[in-house]
């Protein structure tokens, strides 16, 4: 039997507002533990929440970018549970009346697009950070827990997709596109390493062609797109194996650890919490006025998905996708406008530029265009060095462009002859059929010329001389 996976995602994005969701404490990463706290976020008796206007506005903006309906009346609920990172013993969240619902995000692909439904996007407060003190740093085997309340009460948007995803690759691409959307809207840094974007994955499988929804498992605490893809693939394979061996999949939450072969369960259905949701009586319903919604709509530019589709008309889909989800497409447009060849510019940006880790915002597109256009005429070493400095203030391509590549055969031939002579054994092997050694000779010549030789000419000449 062939199987189809059914995947839904729950994404949490930390908003980078000045202050926390329900108090005036600074909302910022870092800081001495428990230095950004007050009676409200520490849940002292009598403390009351006051909602952060900016956080509500930004959630509305994200909802619009995800094509959601914006609620005329949204309600905060209390989600009750005991945990050391949750000082009120309830989290203020949204339940059946979220700010945003029924949206969609179209993920462009080589053959059209895959539309993923957005079930809802709502606003809530983050929990404190539990620091589990143990040798491994993981929850398993921890011996003590310290709590840092700096993160407690910071605004968090939760985005829940419909179970419209059927493979790990689409899940990964959806997450990348969503991340880029959130970053461009200015809502969040959405940095996975810092936890400002986190996601949980729900996975189930069913016989191909069926529309049933079987028991799903939840993979929690993913902190990389590749881990998510890997975890999903592993979980799909596991569930198929379970069914094919005649077993049943249990509803459970799994802790994904990429260094382990399997994902150990965190908790099973029997321990599922009853959160006793009820409307938060300390807050009044949120009613975003129409002019606010219009203003937020006006702040949204051309979204990443649309730009991928537009740029894919000029470049390959792959290049368009890499440029946009890497936040490089605006620089690419500018470099092309300054005279660089589009494909060449895309190659440079998607490969060397990314590897050099330069902030695209700091780059002078005109200078970069000169460099890209001269790429074939200057030595590789000079090009690499120039690119590494492309983000420096006042960067000029001129000094690098003066270093010309050596393409003159009469200059290169003596060097090539010398290399063949001193590697006679390899030359013999090449002639008797070991063609792979061509690269060895080219490399030796490049080394001899200090990287200034034109590799294409060297290639041609070496082949001729050995042939």
């Amino acid at each position: 039997m062939s199987w189809e996976a059914v995947i839904g995602l729950e994404i949490h994005v930390q908003l980078k507002t000045e202050t926390k969701m329900f108090c005036r404490c600074r909302n910022g990463f870092g800081g001495e533990p428990n230095s950004q706290v007050c009676p409200v976020c520490l849940a002292f008796p009598g403390a009351l929440p006051v909602p952060n206007r900016r956080a509500i506005e930004e959630t509305v903006k994200l909802g619009l970018a995800l094509d959601c309906e914006i609620a005329e009346r949204a309600v905060f609920h209390r989600k009750n549970y005991f945990y050391p990172d949750n000082p009120k013993a309830y989290q203020i969240s949204q339940y059946d009346e979220p700010l945003c619902a029924n949206g969609r995000l179209a993920v462009p692909t080589e053959n059209g697009e895959i539309v993923i439904g957005i079930h809802r996007a709502h606003l809530e407060e983050d929990a404190a950070k539990n620091v589990h003190v143990a040798a491994s740093g993981r929850i398993h085997g921890a011996t003590a827990t310290l709590v840092d309340f700096n993160r407690c009460g910071t605004p968090l948007v939760e985005i829940v997709t419909e179970p419209d995803i059927h493979d790990a690759e689409t899940a990964k691409r959806f997450l990348q596109l969503l991340r880029q959307t959130v970053v461009e809207l200015g809502l969040s840094d959405a940095e996975l390493e810092k936890g400002s974007m986190r996601f949980d994955v729900n996975v189930s499988v069913r016989p191909e062609g069926s529309d049933e929804l079987r028991t799903r498992t939840e993979l929690k605490n993913m902190n990389s797109f590749n881990f998510a893809a890997k975890g999903i693939e592993r979980e799909i394979a596991r569930q198929i194996r379970v069914y094919e061996e005649g077993g049943t999949v249990e509803q459970e939450t799994l802790h994904f650890d990429p260094t382990q072969e399997d994902s150990p369960p965190l908790r099973s259905k029997e321990e599922a919490q009853d959160y006793r949701y009820f409307p938060e009586p300390d807050l009044v319903p949120v009613q975003p006025p129409p002019d606010l919604v219009d203003r937020m709509r006006g702040e949204i530019g051309e979204l990443p998905g649309a730009r991928i589709r537009r740029i894919a008309d000029t470049l390959s889909f792959y290049d368009a996708d890499v440029l946009v989800t890497g936040g490089l497409d605006r620089l690419w447009s500018d470099v092309v406008a300054a005279g660089a060849e589009p494909k060449e510019a895309a190659n440079v940006l998607a490969n060397q530029f990314v590897a050099a880790g330069i902030d695209p915002g700091a780059v002078d597109a005109g200078e970069l265009a000169k460099l890209v256009s001269a790429r074939a005429e200057i030595p590789r070493a000079a090009f690499d060095e120039a690119l590494a400095h492309a983000g420096d203030a006042g960067f000029s391509a001129a000094p690098y462009l003066e270093q010309k590549v050596v393409a003159d055969a009469s200059e290169l031939d003596p060097v090539i002859d010398r290399v063949i002579e001193s590697n006679a054994a390899q030359a013999e092997q090449y002639r008797s059929g070991k063609q792979g050694l061509l690269g060895f000779f080219v490399g030796q010549v490049m080394k001899e010329t200090g990287g200034k030789a034109d590799p294409r000419v060297v290639n041609e000449r070496v082949r001729e001389k050995l042939g």
Binding site: F44, P45, P84, T145, R276, D282, V284
Partner: protein
Amino acid sequence: MTIDTLRLTAEEAKNLLERKEISGSELFAAYAERDDDLNAYLHRCEDPGGDGIPLAVKDVIGTKGIPTTAGSKILENYVPVCDATVIANAKRHGLRTLGKTNTDEFAMGSSTENSAYGPSRNPWDPTRVPGGSGGGSAAAVSGGLAPWALGSDTGGSIKQPAALCGQVGLRPTYGTVSRFGVVAFASSLDQVGPVAKTVRDCAYLYSIISGRDENDSTTVDVPAVEIPAAEDLKGLRIGVPKEMNHVEGVEPGVTELVDKAIALAESLGAEVDECSLPLSVDYGMPCYYLVAPAEASSNLARYDGVRYGLRVDGDDFREMVMRTRDAGFGDEPKRRIMIGTYALSSGYYDAYYATAQKVRTVIKREHDAVFEKFDVIVSPTSPSVAFPFGAKAADPLAMYLCDVFTIPSCLAGLPGLNIPVGLSEGLPVGLQLIGPQFAENTLFRMGYALERAIGFDFVPERLR
């Protein structure tokens, strides 16, 4: 001059201070030096200086640097780092905190017998309860230990003790007084309000503490408070709900005095007619005992021994929390936490909490309809006068019924004023005046005119 703290009103004290006939420290000392044989205070304060009027504060209201226990062991050592907004407002008017008054634990009760620190005594008869939960505030004002006080009211905790101690007490319209810094019992019902010897004092204190607060999103702008002066009730339409007057369970002495007060109002020019709140009275009590415990179960979950208050150590986090809560909470909070947790649980939510919220909407609408025809509705505040200690303590349901008349308007978010209307067998009887939202000025007007006409002596007979 000697200061008769039993008789001196806040208004008179203010005048004496302004005319410099007494100093601020003399006035404060007059209350502070009086022996608290009523157990009205859980904590008494030093004079912070200044020449403002002294004020007693119910111990659920957070006071910076002054212990705030909410009558519970679990907060025995808790000292707030900031003032509640009502205290900040009071301080802006120069008011000085005399002390923190006794309360049923987390304001859950009608007699102060649920206080972890022992009950307060009724100044009219020390063998009887002062009412609750704000029995400490009412006893302090009645017993000459404070010129006036702040209380808090969830289902009757200002009005009922004021009635049992012969004082004036206002539960304000929900949203007119900030709850910031007030230890929460049931957030959608809790309101802070004044307890005073006179209606004018009550109105003045309300004007000081009320108003929109940026720290409490449920507060609103409040109409200007008018200190009442008129002695007639011309044009005032008074409704007498038949389900709350002349009904079974009300002591005859209470009914008699309430009837006399209503007749007096009519003689002052008011139009009096019967009205009906059939669902509010029948369903108010069950509705309240689902909504309030549900919210309480969530509000009280923060007392875990981690950040403040009592901590009883255990082998791990769970055990520490369980031991702390077991030792720190008394029977009544435990009972309500359990009821509330149950009412909110998956599978029961729709039957209990969601239904109670629907009933609450019905109660609001029923009151709205009555207030289309009437300006004020009246009833006894309490079905009985002050009862002896232990009379109801063993029977939670009997205790809950003390609030049968005060609860419906609390659920509807409406203001209610208690004024004393006489003595039945030597104990005060209170009349409850209920108005539509933001009708405090109307209640003050009616309360003041009746107060003048009745001429009730608020000083307990045995202390005169």
